[in-house]
């Protein structure tokens, strides 16, 4: 089970959280302007990164807030958590 560092509540068990998939996927500004291809990509295509992945979580059984996390999808280690609307942290410095 993952120990997830909620930005508001601190480290809590995975069972308290819901998963929201890839972060930073904006709703298209004008869906009517999109081709079928582009709309299909918005609906069904998400990054499936092997490695560092920006994703959304919600602390359902705690503060009930959404937040973003940078997590390694191989080791499952959380590298950073940050609030929705904030830019993805740059972890390249100091990374091995």
């Amino acid at each position: 089970m993952l120990m997830i560092p909620c930005p508001d509540c601190g480290p809590r068990d995975e069972t308290e959280f819901g998963y929201g998939g890839q972060a930073h996927v904006a709703y298209p500004e004008d869906p009517n302007q999109l081709s079928d291809r582009e709309w299909g990509e918005y609906l069904f295509y998400r990054e499936n990164t092997r490695g560092l992945f920006a994703e959304r979580w919600v602390h359902t059984a705690g503060c009930r807030r959404w937040f973003n996390a940078l997590r390694d999808t191989v080791t499952y280690e959380f590298k950073a958590v940050y609030r929705p609307g904030e830019a993805r942290p740059d972890l390249t410095q100091g990374e091995s």
């Binding site: 993952l2 068990d13 295509y45 499936n48 092997r50």
Partner: protein
């Protein structure tokens, strides 16, 4: 001492070094890759081909699944594909000259709510119209077929009936892989292990080879059959797949005398159980929620499925969990596979089988081989093309997939 040991049995396949060039290479030496190579050689006469496997043969999901084989899917497209797979399963032990313990012991999909009952009966009717053996059975019939199920009405989700497919069953997964591998090898297919694909060589928009950990290999055609790592390969090749990779876990108990004569699946309380030939109770449940390539998941998922199993099968309370493990499954948003051409010429993809790829092994190989050999889909996999996520012709099998994802 050594001279007293028996002779090593014959190896089932050679371990050749890669040739500089093949007519086709299949990336991924699991069940689907092996079946694809088998049908390429057998049905399409392509024998100058290789299977490239990053690790060892059938060491990924082919070694980790719960071996359930069935074809009771809801939609016409899926029923056609999975029923074709079932018919191939029925002839493969003889065709491959290998008894891989295909046991048609039937599968029940339990219904625990009124909505379950309605959906299950609808699926039975759809199955019958599609020529798939299926019937609706009452709790009394459930009990008769599998006496250890608790069909009492004093549990949280009582058994209200089940769909039953008598021709469904299980098979010994590693023997299936070895059976395909031996036949592929006999027909001249090179099975190359410890050979990781690290890049794709293209001439314009056409793939002409792969870079591997064992050097460059030229290929007229390339087929991807890499399950959980399909997106990673697609990224390397320069196209996208609508796939999310998740951990999926399974477990076994210690060995028991035969107590469980069939396969029982419950979507609602979320567990599926059969008893392997050796005697272990084999169980699985749903995927872990998050994206993951780590081939492991959370123990709370195991706890939940064991809780469901013990409620359905009270005698399991005295069984011990012997081993649990995880694989990486490639899920799509409509819970149906992708067997398709790609935006890159002569590059083909077989992926997105999610939690249910084992049962589809023969049909995946059969239809994917056709697609690779001819450059266009077989009628069986035509609906499972990549462009359905653009046209909207999704094949939503979340109900019959029996595993939440």
């Amino acid at each position: 001492m050594a001279e007293m040991l028996p002779e090593h049995p014959d190896f089932l396949w050679r371990n050749p070094d890669p040739k500089p060039s093949y007519d086709a290479v299949i990336v991924g030496g699991g069940g689907h890759g092996l079946a694809t190579a088998y049908y390429l050689a057998k049905n399409h006469g392509m024998t100058n081909i290789a299977i490239l496997e990053r690790g060892w043969l059938a060491g990924g999901n082919m070694a980790r699944n719960t071996t359930i084989i069935r074809s009771n899917y809801l939609w016409d497209e899926s029923a056609a594909l999975y029923e074709h797979s079932m018919k191939l399963w029925e002839q493969l032990p003889e065709e491959l000259e290998y008894d891989f313990l295909f046991s048609q012991r039937g599968v029940m999909n339990l219904a625990h709510t009124l909505q379950d009952v309605r959906e299950s009966q609808r699926r039975v009717n759809a199955n019958v119209l599609n020529g798939v053996d299926a019937e609706w059975i009452t709790p009394e019939q459930v009990k008769e077929l599998c006496p250890i199920i608790n069909t009492g009405d004093d549990i949280r989700y009582p058994v209200m009936g089940a769909t039953y497919q008598p021709r469904a069953g299980i098979a010994k997964h590693d023997h299936v892989a070895w059976a395909f591998a031996r036949k592929c090898d006999e027909m001249g297919v090179d099975i190359i292990q410890n050979c990781e694909v690290t890049g794709f060589i293209k001439d314009g928009n056409r793939v002409v080879g792969v870079e591997t950990s064992r050097g460059r290999i030229n290929a007229g055609k390339v087929g991807l059959a890499a399950a959980g790592n399909s997106s990673v390969l697609a990224d390397l090749a320069g196209f996208r797949l609508p796939i999310q990779s998740h951990p999926l876990q399974a477990l076994v108990s210690e060995l028991f005398e035969p107590v469980h004569p069939t396969v029982v699946m419950s979507n609602h309380v979320h567990v599926y159980v059969s008893q392997a030939h050796k005697g272990e109770l084999v169980m699985g449940a749903g995927v872990d929620a998050y994206n993951g390539y780590g081939q492991r998941g959370g123990f709370h998922v195991i706890e939940e499925q064991l809780a469901a199993a013990v409620e359905l099968f009270p005698i399991f309370a005295r069984a011990h969990l012997l081993r649990s493990w995880g694989g990486t499954v490639d899920t799509t948003f409509d819970a149906s596979p992708i067997v398709s051409t790609t935006p890159i010429d002569e590059l083909y993809v077989n992926a997105g089988w999610g939690t249910g790829g084992f049962k589809g092994t023969p049909a995946a190989g059969y239809s994917f081989a056709h697609t690779i050999a001819t450059g266009s889909a077989h009628p069986l996999n035509e609906p499972f093309a990549l462009d359905r996520f653009e046209t909207g012709h999704l094949i939503d099998e979340h109900g019959a997939a029996a595993v939440a994802h």
